[in-house]
Symmetry: C2
Subunit: 343 residues, 2 copies
């Protein structure tokens, strides 16, 4: 157990962030209500987890929506679905003990009584505790698995990453560089573009606010793009897709925030590009790949320990910061993985 | 050598179909000129082939176009690039003998002097000669390799095929059925839809002239589409893509004829579908897979011999039929693989 628990008094109530209004687009503070509830008692084969870091993830936008998605919507009036890093304070499950640190689906609340299947990862690697919500969180593990399994990088490949400084993209760029790729970030604004170059070691960064992406890519990826790791879709995708090299791979890992995809907005047709360039365009959702989580986490921990990959955490403090946190992701004003410290 | 050469006199001139005007869309008779030339003498390491069946393939539309594609355009004034089944009448290459039957890039002409790399397949399986331009032609081998390698069919999968009665699609449906898939054809018109059911054994056929594809698929593929083998793109693709099952595969093997893809026409954006359904959308061009041709041809020959797959040839006669033949493909009035017999 690498983490000392501070000598503090555990809260005697369970503060919960409930989803109380269905957002039409990005969830904002008005869609949530913070209430106080009793601390649940763990049932048989459950653990009681005290959350320390609440994770703020783009997937939560989809979970708030009533539209069909890869997960069922969060019910109105229920605690917001969310990942968290926490500590086991009571265990009725073999293999879990009081004092174990865990990362998983514990919701936006102080306490969660959950079965072991809610735990995505045991926080027993030798890392700072916030790393389990970032480097080894779904963002870091998504970057690792989607890039290596769907992107299939080879040394010398040109890898383009949208939201190159983001909580997924920053890892994709660093892992790609470590694997011998030439890395090109697409980022919004000069500060983020500079951060891509200086902090995450990209070979080039394109500011999509200012640059024409097609022309910029013709310079930054003159032999074509072998891998496009796409976190945004939209016009950035349209531009990069037309610069793909033959046999290139597009990894679809996220899409931009729009009010509704039903009916879908229009854009340039892509089937001729897919055919003539013989592309492979794949969608990645981490929850299909849970069986590979532990190995990927071990690999990512090693990369951090060897100084190959760094991570940044943007910490908000207090559960009151949670309701506005998803919107901050989409405003793009976070620098690093957004976590809410409630410990 | 399974084929008797008829006791006829070989032509003493070389009739050639030259591309003499650049089509803006579909190549039509006015874009070609038939001329008479001398029979070429094979150089060192060349064979002289007398063509018997000229193959008519959708890829020839692209080869006629000046637009960038996966093959260089045919030069104006040059013999039309095309596949053919022929017989070696003179050989200066080890391993090829007079009387060998071959299938390859011999052009739309009576005679071709070519190196051995122009030969795609040796016609030494025990099959009717026209089968080498159909069952074992690029259409049949494309169907086999693209379906098995990119579509990755599993027993019980639902497979939808556009141009389900076509020279590629008819094989895709039959191979898929043999591999245990539920097969659904999309075809244009009641006669073709009936042919899909009666001749190629599809479980269901949707006439896109008459049926709303989305509603028809909701019935014919009620659990979603596991594999969409797309030969058309366009509105059929748009409809099927929105009925894909999670982890479904789209194989892009062809696109409809439009005047130009630059700039691309617009259609519904697909990145959200790719992501949330975790699709894999891949482009297939047979010429990337030549190393697998012989094995695939052997498998297809066996499937025909066992009665699992049948093939239909639509035979035109005389080289004069060649210039109008590509347009016939796009008019959709051929029933079976279109070959021009000039033997």
């Amino acid at each position: 157990m690498p983490y000392a628990i501070p000598d503090y008094v555990l809260p005697t109530i369970n503060r919960q962030v409930l989803l109380t209004a269905r957002p039409d687009g990005i969830p904002r503070p008005g869609h949530f209500t913070i209430v106080e509830a009793q601390i649940p008692a763990p049932g048989e084969e459950q653990i009681l987890v005290r959350n320390i870091y609440l994770s703020v993830d783009p997937a939560q936008r989809g979970w708030c929506s009533a539209e069909a998605n890869y997960s069922a919507p969060v019910a109105l009036g229920a605690p917001m679905r969310g990942l968290a890093v926490g500590v086991v304070v009571q265990s009725r499950v073999g293999g879990f003990s009081e004092g174990d640190f865990v990362y998983g689906f514990f919701g936006w609340q102080d306490y969660a009584a959950v079965g072991p299947q809610a735990v995505l990862h045991r926080a027993d690697d030798n890392l700072p505790l916030d790393a389990f919500g970032s480097l080894l969180g779904i963002n870091g593990i998504t970057a690792y698995l989607a890039l290596t399994r769907l992107g299939r990088p080879e040394p010398g490949d040109t890898l383009v990453v949208s939201t190159g400084a983001g909580s997924v993209g920053s890892f994709v760029g660093q892992i790609g560089r470590h694997l011998g790729c030439r890395t090109v970030a697409v980022a919004g604004g000069p500060a983020k573009a500079a951060r891509c170059l200086e902090r995450f070691g990209y070979d080039a960064a394109i500011d999509y606010h200012d640059d024409d992406i097609g022309s910029a890519l013709a310079v930054a990826a003159e032999d074509g793009v072998d891998i496009y790791y796409d976190n945004t879709g939209g016009p950035i995708l349209d531009a990069v897709l037309r610069q793909m090299a033959v046999a290139g791979r597009i990894v679809q890992c996220g899409t931009a925030s729009i009010a509704s995809w039903t009916p879908a907005p229009t854009g340039p047709r892509n089937e001729r590009e897919i055919l003539t360039r013989r592309l492979v365009w794949s969608g990645f959702v981490i929850f299909d790949h849970i069986g590979r989580y532990a190995q990927a986490a071990s690999d990512m921990a090693r990369l951090w320990q060897e100084g190959k990959v760094l991570y940044d955490t943007d910490l908000a403090t207090g559960i009151e910061a949670a309701p506005g946190a998803i919107a901050r992701l989409y405003a793009g004003d976070n620098a690093g993985k957004l976590l809410v410290y409630i410990g």
